[in-house]
Symmetry: D3
Subunit: 141 residues, 6 copies
Amino acid sequence: MIFLTRRATFSASHYYWNESWTAEKNQQVFGRCANRNGHGHNYTVEVTVAGEPDPVTGFVVDLKWLKDVIEHEVLAAYDHRHLNLEVPEFAASKLMPTTENIAISAWKRLEPAIALAGGAKLTRVRIYETPEIFAEFRGEA
Amino acid sequence: MIFLTRRATFSASHYYWNESWTAEKNQQVFGRCANRNGHGHNYTVEVTVAGEPDPVTGFVVDLKWLKDVIEHEVLAAYDHRHLNLEVPEFAASKLMPTTENIAISAWKRLEPAIALAGGAKLTRVRIYETPEIFAEFRGEA
Amino acid sequence: MIFLTRRATFSASHYYWNESWTAEKNQQVFGRCANRNGHGHNYTVEVTVAGEPDPVTGFVVDLKWLKDVIEHEVLAAYDHRHLNLEVPEFAASKLMPTTENIAISAWKRLEPAIALAGGAKLTRVRIYETPEIFAEFRGEA
Amino acid sequence: MIFLTRRATFSASHYYWNESWTAEKNQQVFGRCANRNGHGHNYTVEVTVAGEPDPVTGFVVDLKWLKDVIEHEVLAAYDHRHLNLEVPEFAASKLMPTTENIAISAWKRLEPAIALAGGAKLTRVRIYETPEIFAEFRGEA
Amino acid sequence: MIFLTRRATFSASHYYWNESWTAEKNQQVFGRCANRNGHGHNYTVEVTVAGEPDPVTGFVVDLKWLKDVIEHEVLAAYDHRHLNLEVPEFAASKLMPTTENIAISAWKRLEPAIALAGGAKLTRVRIYETPEIFAEFRGEA
Amino acid sequence: MIFLTRRATFSASHYYWNESWTAEKNQQVFGRCANRNGHGHNYTVEVTVAGEPDPVTGFVVDLKWLKDVIEHEVLAAYDHRHLNLEVPEFAASKLMPTTENIAISAWKRLEPAIALAGGAKLTRVRIYETPEIFAEFRGEA
């Protein structure tokens, strides 16, 4: 069993704001992130799949294919976007686009496409908001 | 003569949009950056001052003071802000918040405060928009 | 379940020396680290907590709070200090301030403060002595 | 239990080519990597061992010893080499020198030397082909 | 005047070998790099242009255009190639593909394309062979 | 003319203290660095030489030789040392081991050895105290 990882980056805006709270409470809980004009990050997404290397190709999965999956499933929706306003899982609900929730959302976007291919299993999605902060989801409750 | 550099980071949103152009022309010139919802980056600002180390302290400038200058003059205005909407040099004019113009603007913010202190001269401001793209201004026409 | 990580850095001195050994034996076992004048590193501490994102805030824990915990529990004691001479867990015993033991000691400092808050569980402390060497403690015997 | 990791780097050439396939099929499956002249990478190998810190030295293993093991077992064979032509596990078989198979091969080279020393257990070998792509083997089927 | 820089990466093989020398002399001068099977690196190319930001777009040059220039002029020729065998400036002459000569060769490839565009001037090409070694050419004799 | 750079790292301790000042004044000027027990850093030294690539070897200088020069002239004196107590230029004088003065001192150590070889000229020494702080000396008053 090999764990194979590919990284990609995207640049996006977000803010943290709860409509049912006062401005003061939003400020108190979310601090500088409560600015409705938004601020942004260069995010890094790290996708790990697990499986056996194919005896002929030596590949767990084709890394070019994995790159395309990350681009189609995650970057096409998140890159150069405002997460709160343009990305369905955040725009259409009260789900806050925190690093934690972006990790879970990216997993939900990637998992079906990787499962469909049949070759390897998604085991980990890690999102870096900055080089100092990252959240990891392993598909476990 | 020693060139002493300190780095800091800030997270901000921006977009590229020219009001006097059609949406098509904005899209054509600015591509994905023409999204009015904004997108964002973790910017790094690198500030270089030049001077002689003080014979007693060994300092060109006190790095704690330089950190405070960067925080007061640049980060207080740019960090967790939308550059187009909230930062005066971009919001009050048609100046586009490109990496190039952010470097010049940060220089204009830093230079008077460093000149006032009298000890060393600002010689370079570098802004990284991503680890792959950076602009540098040396105060030269 | 999300694993959320925050990094911080501290600069400290240390040496490796066993009082009950001869200088020759110390030199033989600890090599260049046996210099009693001490040498130093820019350490990075990486703290991981696990939990469910809060349905309202989207936070596993408030990252500002986690930053404060790392600063109060670890950096206040270790940063700009000589680990052998000034940090109680090493100064008051024969415990050697190796990367391994720093990871365990940082865990012991962080775990009660994080447990007290009740929201998430400390699951991992990683200490980088250099970018090439790191030790990780997961609270397991 | 502490997980202690040491990184090292090596520069090597490789290509992907299956002798029993046509040139077209090799091109289709392996893309730019099917160039028989070879291309190369600065690989990073990350070796993790697990064990209890020695109560006297504070070491899980002596990091100088671990560095030597990595150099003797992995770097001496891989560094400044063409993996397909000069490294026995790839040259003498049809095993493709993918990141996945390099991770498994490095494990097989390291594990006996680390087991022989008796102090700690090899738990993970990670190979970075570039900063964006890495494969990890944990000795598990 | 702003100095605007863009980075890109390519993976290539090379060796150092002088046909008019004995194997012994090649070994003595070039050490491990004298292996005719080749070894490889993940190279980084850093391209700097200088000019005034356009008053309307805020661009010294369009970074998407600069990326394309780097890809067409440098990466298309160097990436996933064996420099000694496949890249004309090295294959057709005795020019050794050292980091120094790659920097000069990349400059010669980039300079006409950038000059032709008329907007900004190429001022610096830097090539990293590893994160520890880099060569810079500024177009000066 | 090519500018060729090689990086190396060393780990050292230091403190800032002026014997002719009171403890209060030392604390006020040097802050946390005034701790006489010392604290430490992983320093990076970046050495740049300039010259023409040799037409036969393609080398400005042999990088193995440059590595040896850095090791003999700088690392042998600074690595795993307490700069204030063990490194002559700081221990035998009141010269403060600031990043600025370490850059000048490293230049004085490197320049004669590089000049003696005759092939290329030292043009720049850069010292990183942390990834956020660095000082550069170019041999200019």
